[in-house]
């Protein structure tokens, strides 16, 4: 056994990466029409959230039920830029106040609020996509973790934050677009994002960013930081009395997860063409947790496959048996917790990985390494 060094991936880990990259970058684009590919691209934006949850919840034991907040903030920052670009005075000449977003005009707002102003600049908007959610996560994390609030209390408070933000967005429709969100987004620096070609390109950007995020998460996971997360989950006091400032580690991983969720949100806005409070609140936030749980809360690869699988099931169910979907979703929550808490990755590791390892002629690696997984055949 070669546990003396900590390889970035095990040999099978590199294989899983290659399979994932092949599926996302070759198989899907070749096999799916632009509409379906765009749909997969939308699913992948949730996978960013799931990746963050694997580190934060699966490894660190910090269950956030408010990841939709960060997904939404990232998405809204992107949407604000796109909306301003779509609201040029020429496009909005019929409004009583031309040059401001249509929903503001409908709500008798006559001037662009000051905090919308900087979002005219793309660099600022891209910066804000990451910075706004991370600062928000830092404030929540700092307040909670330095006071040692954790476990279910943290979960409930993050859920309350998701509820608050949703009510706020819906209530302030003159500034946020209200319950419909920010819609009718058209161009990015003059490039029409609504065409099939643009959607295909955005899909590749999204898939590429997702793989980059996976690698970044893996880098965190294999570092000493990653093992400390597991240690904090198991024996927080021991970590503290080994000289670590546990709160700082929790804040960091929470902010990291928030940043990933925000990237997902921004890519969602770009690919789907709108952002609304229905991706911010309690229900979407907890659904994002189940994506990670179904994939396997300890597995980064699992998070991506779990997200794809659950969303694919959701789309197919909602098309054919809409009334069954909530039963299926509810059953999934119960089953994944009670029957297979390690999700697809756990099942794969138990039943398939040994055979595949034998085929590859490699030694089976310890399960606790957690990054071995992926059933490409689903």
């Amino acid at each position: 056994m070669n546990a003396m060094s900590n390889p970035f991936f095990t040999r099978s880990g590199w294989l899983y990466l290659a399979i994932l990259a092949a599926i996302l970058l070759v198989v899907f684009p070749l096999a799916l029409d632009p509409f379906r590919l765009n749909l997969v691209g939308k699913y992948l934006t949730y996978a960013f959230v799931a990746l963050g949850l694997v580190l934060c919840w699966g490894h660190g034991g910090i269950l956030s039920l408010g990841q939709g907040v960060f997904f939404g903030l990232g998405g809204y920052c992107m949407a604000m830029f796109l909306k301003l670009e779509a609201s040029s005075p020429e496009n909005t000449a019929i409004q009583s106040t031309p040059g401001i977003p249509d929903f503001m005009d409908w709500n008798q707002v006559t001037a662009l609020p000051w905090w919308w102003e900087p979002f005219r600049s793309l660099p600022f908007a891209l910066f804000a996509v990451i910075a706004v959610p991370v600062i928000f996560a830092f404030i929540i994390g700092f307040a909670m973790f330095t006071r040692r609030v954790g476990g279910v209390y943290f979960a409930i408070i993050t859920q309350a934050v998701a509820a608050i933000l949703t009510i706020l967005i819906i209530g302030q429709q003159g500034y946020t677009g209200g319950v419909n969100g920010i819609t009718d987004l058209r161009t990015l620096l003059g490039w029409d994002i609504r065409t099939n070609d643009a959607k295909t390109i955005l899909y590749f950007v999204c898939a590429g960013l997702l793989i980059a995020s996976l690698l970044l998460s893996q880098a965190v996971h294999v570092s000493k930081f990653g093992r400390l997360l597991i240690a904090i989950r198991d024996k927080e006091d021991r970590v503290r009395f080994s000289g670590y400032n546990v709160a700082a580690f929790k804040i960091f991983v929470f902010c990291f997860a928030a940043a990933l969720a925000a990237i997902g949100g921004a890519m969602f806005t770009l690919q789907v063409g709108f952002m609304s409070p229905s991706f911010v609140g309690i229900v979407p936030s907890i659904e994002m947790v189940i994506f990670a749980a179904v994939g396997g809360r300890l597995s980064l690869f699992g998070a991506i496959y779990g997200t794809l699988l659950v969303n694919y099931a959701k789309t197919s169910f909602s098309e054919s048996f809409p009334e069954l979907w909530l039963f299926a979703m509810g059953g999934l929550f119960i089953a994944v917790v009670m029957a297979f808490p390690d999700g697809i990755a756990g099942l794969y590791n138990r039943y398939l990985a040994p055979h595949i390892a034998r085929l590859l002629g490699t030694m089976r690696k310890r399960d606790a390494e957690g990054h071995s997984l992926a059933n490409p055949a689903e």
Binding site: A3, S223, A231, D234, K235, S242, G243, N245
Partner: protein, 251 residues
């Protein structure tokens, strides 16, 4: 400043320490001093406040009043991890280790480098780390188990692992809460031998009930009762102190 200090330079000076939980004073106006390289054993009946004293020193419990000075630093105002950085190590009564990680990883996490967030992200497992982990694993009889998940170690091995995790930090003051509790006779002997080697060149506070063990290692014994020091001195001194006899046998 040492020269002008009116008192002798103790490594640890606990003075007037009091902690009250809802009015109940678990530790009540407690004072004691530990010298450099001293082995101090704290004994006392259950509920005497022994573990609470260790909790107070390592920052797990905040003192209601009183002071704990470690060299020139006041510990009562520091956070737990800062107290560890000062050179205080604490072993818990029940083995407190990371069950999901291997012995190697348990020890590596305790290695005193890369203790902040970015340090931990950048931490490399270099030859220095490996050598030190292997050295410590050898000391705590776990050199053949480096890559075993800690969860499957025996109770005694878990205790050793936790001691190892403290040793790798090389603390100036080591605090052990019942290190041989729950061990088999064989493990006890080995642990005694281990403690003899690790208590060299550092100060140690041990809570222990095993009198033979106490007699064997203690430089000085503090007997606690109802949150206060009942008696303090050499083993023979406290054994013959009528107050101690009263507390242990009188009830």
């Amino acid at each position: 400043m040492n020269a002008v200090s009116p008192q002798k330079d103790f490594l640890l000076s606990v003075e007037g320490l009091t902690v009250s939980f809802d009015g109940f004073k678990a530790v009540n106006d407690l004072s004691f001093y530990i010298d450099e390289n001293e082995i101090r054993v704290i004994i006392g009946p259950n509920g005497a406040g022994k573990t609470t004293v260790l909790d107070l020193i390592c920052g797990r419990t905040k003192a209601t009043s009183g002071s704990i000075r470690f060299r020139d630093t006041e510990l009562t105002s520091l956070k737990e991890h800062q107290i560890v950085h000062q050179g205080v190590g604490r072993k818990f009564q029940n083995p407190s280790i990371y069950e999901e990680l291997t012995v190697f990883e348990n020890l590596e996490l305790s290695f005193p480098r890369g203790r902040n967030v970015f340090g931990a992200l950048a931490f490399r497992r270099d030859a220095e780390v490996r050598d030190r982990v292997e050295e410590i694993a050898g000391m705590v009889f776990l050199h053949n188990q480096l890559h075993t998940p800690a969860a499957i170690l025996s109770h005694g091995q878990k205790q050793w692992l936790e001691i190892g995790m403290l040793l790798i930090q090389d603390p100036t003051l080591l605090m052990l809460d019942e290190p041989v509790a729950g061990m088999s006779v064989g493990e006890r002997l080995k642990t005694a031998e281990l403690l003899h080697t690790i208590i060299k060149d550092r100060s140690v506070i041990v809570i222990e009930h095993d009198m033979k063990f106490v007699e064997d290692i203690a430089h000085r014994v503090t007997v606690m009762h109802q949150g206060k020091v009942l008696s303090d001195g050499s083993m023979t001194h406290v054994q013959n102190d009528p107050k101690v006899v009263e507390v242990y046998l009188g009830h």
